[in-house]
């Protein structure tokens, strides 16, 4: 059994009387690409928000690389090596694509009021490095040519790629992607998946929420299905493909291998 990078124990969150995430316990093994599936409203995005600290759980714990991270703010979790993207892209609209990406690295000396004045030389050197890396990452996600465009003016699919680029600047060990392929054209989706697998080979662990079952079955293993806030299936892609209950009840569409 591979090393566990992230685990949750009886993680729960309600909105009023409605239990969006209801006692979810799971483990994510290092080096995997886990697919998180389930019908609309199953609680997948809410689950991500609980993992990343964007929402506080009502009960349960989250453990990252052996450390209890329950209740830590999102900013801290990014520093600890967990990056995430959003289902609905959240670009910094009135900033250039490049600026969006250059923002992400932590520990920039120029990020204080006095830094730009007292540590000028150091800040400039850092800026040059960050800029070079940002351009590399943008090329990697095929957005190099758009570096100087306002991020609010690029297409929805490109925004998805931009979010991935921002996250990559932090070199996270674990990346959570919320529907990375939604709204992205098929060619770009293939590119995106290629990039994800490339990063995965280099050691990055992924958890991907995705409705495109074909994509999930081909690229994710293991697969976890949520419904009404609970885990209803957990297993390998092969098992998922033959699990009749899973296919009928929660996906509604027959799969052909």
């Amino acid at each position: 059994m591979a090393e566990t990078v992230l685990s949750t124990h009886r993680l729960s969150r309600s909105f009023g009387p409605f239990k969006a995430v209801d006692g979810v316990s799971l483990e994510i093994a290092r080096g995997t690409i886990t697919g998180l599936i389930g019908p609309n409203g199953a609680g997948k995005s809410t689950f991500f928000n609980l993992l990343t600290g964007a929402l506080a759980p009502d009960a349960g714990t989250v453990t990252l690389a052996g450390q209890d991270i329950t209740g830590l703010p999102p900013s801290r979790l990014f520093e600890l090596g967990m990056g995430r993207t959003f289902q609905i892209p959240r670009p910094f609209a009135r900033m250039s694509v490049l600026e969006n990406v250059m923002l992400a690295p932590t520990g920039q000396v120029g990020e204080t009021v006095w830094g730009p004045f007292l540590s000028r030389k150091q800040m400039r050197d850092q800026e040059r490095q960050i800029r070079d890396k940002a351009m590399e990452v943008l090329e990697f996600v095929t957005l190099g040519a758009l570096a100087d465009h306002p991020a609010g003016k690029i297409s929805g699919g490109q925004m998805k790629l931009l979010e991935l680029a921002r996250v990559l600047m932090g070199d996270p060990a674990l990346i959570l992607l919320d529907e990375p392929a939604a709204g992205v054209n098929p060619v770009l989706t293939e590119t995106l998946i290629g990039k994800i697998e490339e990063l995965n080979r280099q050691g990055t662990t992924f958890v991907i929420i995705e409705h495109d079952m074909d994509l999930v079955m081909r690229h994710c293993d293991p697969i976890i299905a949520l419904s009404e806030g609970r885990i209803v299936f957990q297993g390998s892609a092969d098992e998922a493909m033959t699990d009749a209950g899973l296919l009928d009840a929660y996906l509604g569409t027959p799969l052909h291998a």
Partner: protein, 316 residues
Amino acid sequence: MIGTISYLVFFATTASILAIAVLGLNLQWGNTGLFNGGVVAFFGAGAYGTLILGGTPQDGHLGGYGLFYPLALLGGMAAAGVMAWIVGLLTLRLRHDYLAIATFGVAVAFENLMRNAEWLAGGAKGVRGFERPLRDALGDGFLYNIAFFITVLIILITVYLFLERLVASPFGRLLRAIREDEEAASSLGKSPSRIRLTAFITGSVILGLAGGLYGTFYAFVSPQDVLPTLTFQIWAMLIVGGAGNNRGAIFGAFLIWGAWTASGWALSRFAPVEAQLYTGSMQFVLIGVVIVGMLMWRPQGLLPERLVVSQRGSKE
């Protein structure tokens, strides 16, 4: 002739002081998206602070510490900063509309306190007994006014250069990210509440600096100087000039102050006598119309914010 020049110097001094204030607000609103509805409180803290610290002893109210002028001015800025720190700690966790209402309330409370607490700052009569620095050397006349104007101008340019560098730095990038999407910024390792507080305090210290210079210019400050009118005018200057653009902020300050002064003069000259009672109100309406028109036709202001692009200051 000398009268006209004298007037122009007077106008330019006031406009430059206001421009410094607009720059302070621009850091808060234009760059960071913090709605400060109580600009005048921080401006006032600077003015009162400077005069109380730098003035001669007075019966009946606090102050008269006779501090060396630059220290008094720094003290006024610090007073504005401390006030911002307290207000910020109490309200910055709340989101935008709450911040607007809370700061507006702070400004009203500040004015009331100054008006009623005579032991503190002379109440309605204001703070007196302040001597403008270097008055003995320069006298009270034209020479002094020119020297003071040049000083204010140098300070304005310094504040402008300071902010330009700040906004072009990673810190400026942080501010814009917080303005655009706090949640996304925090998912990328940034702490919105700390950044908002820093920006709010820094902007307020600049507002305090403007207030300190304003108090110095008139060698007097009273509750009449800290009315909501001033908040309104400074906002108008920023919106018309261009939020997010420091040059726009300065341009807007001169333009709106010019329009305000000119409309006051025109109304007093040409409006029927019965209407002259309402000159102030009519000026308000005019400025209000300008703001609404601006927001409708050119919401980005006359000099819009510029996008930071990779060519600028990059590969040497």
